[in-house]
Symmetry: C2
Subunit: 327 residues, 2 copies
């Protein structure tokens, strides 16, 4: 949610990140509440109410987040809902219900509309939840807003990472982004399916309750989301580039797309894997680094150099269309 | 919510209404669930989960639902949230939390963004709820999606109206629509404020629990919403045109705008008053008619004629812009 107050990717400059921080501070002030019903408000992946109700909302806008020629509408709609469900995963919440709000151009046919709804239904069914309602309105551009409702008695937060904790990933953070680059280039690639068919790591999130000290999902890119987690926790992190998981052929595919594989790995988002810290030693997730006291994110490259990295990511907004830029 | 599956106003023809019915039937099938957690699913003003959680979502799209020159962004944003909160009122629910999802053009300034958020915060504060989270994304057109979360142990429904019940309104159903016509015409009018400053009838809804046999809010127009209520309840309704409440000077203002006052009264939406049926005699609401066994909605005019009326309303969609048409 609103830590992603970023106009989706308008974040490749330090100024933009500063703007984001200022915006979040302004929002936190505007929406300040002393309600005892609000356990976690603005500033995490999802809100949590007093009774453990977990709430989040996410939107996919045609032209900003996807193009229709990337895949069938059903697949794109499923993907939009997975993006929202991923916020529940990051909170260690169990999904209960989804609400869908679609804005559709008048040119969309009934069968296309049905395809969108089928995709939403599929995403809900996969995680054992139901689409309980929604809204449909006419507009100039297609957008899919999904609200997700879950429950968690012990929600994961971004703010609990401790110095010495290990930093983990529940899956490869760059494969989906590489797939998006392939789709943008019109290049047939196995990675395109990683973007088209993400999975919300619900089970992983549930298993982290009482285990992880802090958790986010990688929606904005590994660097940015790790910066979010570190800032919320008041710590820093050092990660090993070589330790970051990636699909087979990642480097070759990135080079074929004229991209720097490391930057795609560090900067591309929408992977919806979980990035978390834990004092414990876990075997099912990939350890990529350690929480340190020095604020910031430090990446150790293959030659052993330790480089402080700003929260750069992909900018598919600045030009008003889906145009990835290098970090 | 989805009974308003209408592409906002694409409903002035019998064919469009038939299409709407077919769409709802298709949706109900796509989103069919046997989850014990879903007490009220698609087909009412809001969904209700097993623990009395009430959920709804609504969207306002620039060009479809409003124009920026109608009023300050703060006022327009407050209004968008009130439209969503009105669904909670119709369910007799107490508001707990709001989530906001904004799609904004890149040209929107930070201060304009802040104004939108201030308006949302105002709407939430007025009903004792908090904005607990949201999302912000870039797009070509401004749209404001608001998810509302409430609670109700005894939710009001659309489906309980009984023959012989009285039909009531909690306020004037046409004043806001007349205000919209004035705004569209660029005419200064006291009614414009009725459109700009609606109020969700939360207290009224809460007081109807255990009293009303069926309830909806007038979001799509009196005729359409009464049709919805009657269809859900398997009954019909007969209402008196002269009994329908309206603001002082309504007829004169309508004529000045070259509109038929009766059609504005019957067909314009976004009033967010409650339309309900009850066996009891209530003094605080206005009785406008009676529930009958014959399916349909029948309007008795000033000359005593009883006319069957189709669920016609305003069409601010067909042309792709805000263009009201007569019912």
């Amino acid at each position: 949610m609103w830590l992603d107050l970023d106009l989706e990717g308008e974040l490749c400059s330090a100024e933009a990140v500063a703007t984001e921080d200022a915006r979040i501070a302004a929002l936190t002030e505007v929406f300040r509440t002393d309600s005892a019903d609000v356990r976690v408000g603005i500033g995490d992946d999802a809100a949590v109410l007093a009774d453990g109700l977990v709430l989040s909302v996410d939107v996919c806008v045609e032209g900003t987040h996807f193009r229709r020629d990337f895949g069938p509408l059903e697949v794109l709609a499923r993907r939009a809902a997975v993006g929202a469900l991923s916020d529940l995963a990051a909170m260690g919440a169990c999904p209960r219900a989804l609400l869908s709000s679609l804005v559709v151009p008048g040119t969309l046919s009934d069968s296309e509309l049905l395809a969108l709804h089928r995709g939403l239904a599929a995403a809900a069914t996969e995680v054992g939840a139901a689409v309980v309602g929604g809204n449909l309105a006419a507009g100039g551009e297609l957008s899919l807003t999904t609200t997700v409702v879950g429950r968690s008695t012990r929600p994961l937060r971004r703010c609990g990472a401790k110095v010495g904790d290990a930093v983990y990933l529940s899956g490869p953070p760059g494969d989906a982004g590489l797939g998006l680059l392939a789709l943008l280039a019109g290049r047939s690639s196995a990675f395109a399916d990683r973007w088209l068919w993400p999975r919300a790591h619900i089970e992983e999130g549930l298993s982290l309750r009482g285990v992880a000290s802090a958790c986010v999902d990688v929606s904005d890119g590994l660097l940015r989301d790790l910066h979010h987690l570190c800032a919320a926790s008041g710590v820093g992190a050092e990660i090993e580039l070589a330790a970051i998981p990636r699909g087979g052929g990642f480097e070759a595919e990135a080079r074929a797309l004229a991209q720097d594989p490391d930057e795609v790995l560090l900067g591309s988002g929408e992977a919806y894997v979980l990035l978390f810290t834990a004092p414990a030693s876990l075997t099912w997730a990939t350890r990529i680094g350690t929480v340190v006291s020095e604020p910031g994110v430090f990446v150790r490259d293959r030659s052993g150099r330790r480089i402080a990295r700003s929260p750069r990511g992909f900018d598919h907004f600045a030009s008003g269309e889906l145009t990835p830029v290098r970090g």
